[in-house]
Symmetry: C2
Subunit: 336 residues, 2 copies
């Protein structure tokens, strides 16, 4: 098993990417190919300790900048680190690619190099989020800001197959994020999508409201990428703010300092549940290969975990499972 | 000052509406008109203690049911409690109306009876939400599920005037909820709205991301009603889930039970900040009068606070302030 890492992508590359790769090969049983400028990477690796032969460097002369346009980056930066990392997957030299760089460019490059699965119009980012019952998969978390009902239908199929294949959820409950449980509630997009999704051979449980997603009301929550990204960021910001507010309240309470000390382990445990660095990256579902997108602010721990998540997805060949599911469900849909 | 309360609206009406009215007149300096079936309300008021003459009953023979359609309710239930309450505002017999009933019907009725302010195409629900710096106003929180850029522009103007008039925020910072700070980020709707809003004579600070709204990044956060309602519900659900997760973590920690006891006052203080019952209701901005929408599950405390909030809005004649602002800004926009 070999994972290609865009070593030049992310706010703190290549320091954290190289450190994350070293942590990953030290802890887990797969190899990492660092893709990027060979001199810079040789420098970063110098004097570092890691299992010999488990990290290799693959040269790429260019780097995508955060203000590059996706279309331009694809046309003009053919030797970028993210492009080369994904090409290694395409040619079979790596089982999956991970990038913490410009997510728009990563998506466009994955689409361009690996192509889409049959029956998919738009790939989606599938993010794992914590709930009181464990977790749920939110998709699309930001790949498509404007969607058609047909897109949401495909996200439902992909999300269901993904939850089942990668996380072993049996017959995943798929909910459509909306503003009321009744099928007449929603905006034009979700009302049309509802009609399409309910014809599918998946466990569609209808609309789900924002307040119920964290209570474990569905295993897969489907929405367009604009709303998905906002929900993701609202949850991230609110969780942090709530911890800050609680700390302030604890400090204010009579039991003050002691209360805070007692709260600390709880906050740590809670953070572990909600911390994006714990899984480290979200896959782009619907492309013909495995590519994970990591947070631009990823720490080495996030990179390590993204590499591990990528290896797990490569292990169960998630893209093939999603493709099979799309093929089957579409057939049963046409015949049914 | 006299507030009309739809005494038959809400999941637990008329018990909680009557109780809320009694709490309000006992605590604050305004009168309440209970609108609804006179016999039922006389029954509910019997043997209750409250300052005499501060609560009156106005008869309405019909009640809107939660499964009534807005358009049908307006045509067929002309003597409904919510309709009569709003008509009291129209004819000047009450300064504001409050309803915890079917929010769609309340909106449609307010629009039908009171009419829109000049230069407003669609009214919006403005909700106060807590942030680390105090609070922010989110609009639209659910009145319009599908919006045009022009609607978001008007929400910006109304929200700015509202924050300034009711909450005394000087030159409120208005942010457009989107998925990136750059003005090129967003979906079709927000990108077009951005262009319109930036021409206005308000303190528009550009796009704001979901993670920044709870950090106090803006005083007014503008979005369409579908997203606004989802953000509201996500925040409500997540805040409750986080408290549950934290309690679980505290119970798990070595300091267990003592930690929980120490955490309790903090959670109580925190809940007070985030509890919707503290303000009790959200105004419908853009209509020619004052009408507040309360949660269907309102407790008597929520009703009491909604009545108080309504009286505060009537005190500063918020609809007139919003109208003046819309008029001024539109003029300066046309001349500018």
């Amino acid at each position: 098993m070999r994972i290609a890492l865009d070593a030049m992508g992310g706010d703190h590359a290549p320091e954290v990417t190289v450190a994350g790769a070293i942590e990953a090969v030290s802890e887990y049983d797969f190899d990492v190919v660092l893709v990027g400028d060979r001199d810079i990477l040789a420098d970063s690796l110098r004097d570092k300790k890691y299992p010999s032969g488990r990290i290799s460097v693959y040269h790429a002369s260019e780097v995508v900048a955060m203000d590059d346009q996706a279309s331009v980056a694809i046309r003009k930066k053919k030797d970028s680190s993210v492009r080369k990392a994904i090409e290694l997957v395409k040619e079979g030299s790596a089982d999956a690619a991970v990038s913490a760089g410009h997510s728009g460019v990563t998506m466009a490059t994955a689409l361009f190099v690996l192509g889409k699965l049959p029956n998919v119009d738009r790939p989606a980012i599938a993010t794992k989020m914590p709930s009181l019952e464990g977790f749920f998969i939110l998709l699309d978390a930001g790949a498509n800001v404007d969607c058609k009902p047909e897109n949401l239908k495909q996200f439902s199929l992909m999300g269901s197959a993904y939850a089942e294949t990668v996380y072993g959820v049996n017959n995943p409950r798929v909910g459509l994020l909306s503003i009321g449980e009744e099928d007449t509630k929603g905006n034009e997009l979700t009302k049309e999508a509802f009609k399409l999704i309910k014809t599918l051979d998946i466990n569609f449980t209808g609309n789900i409201e924002g307040k119920d997603i964290f209570y474990g009301g569905a295993d897969v929550v489907v929405c367009d990428g604009f709303i998905g990204n906002i929900v993701l960021k609202v949850a991230e910001g609110l969780a942090e703010s709530i911890i800050k507010m609680l700390k302030r309240e604890v400090a204010r309470a009579a039991t003050g300092r002691i209360g805070y000390l007692m709260l600390k382990p709880a906050i740590k445990g809670f953070r572990k549940q909600t911390d994006y660095t714990e899984h480290g990256g979200a896959p782009l579902l619907g492309i013909n290969g495995i590519c994970l997108i990591s947070h631009g602010r990823s720490t080495s721990k996030a990179i390590k975990n993204a590499l591990r998540t990528a290896s797990e997805m490569a292990q169960c060949r998630v893209h093939e499972a999603v493709a099979r599911s799309l093929d089957l469900k579409n057939k049963s849909h046409k015949n049914g």
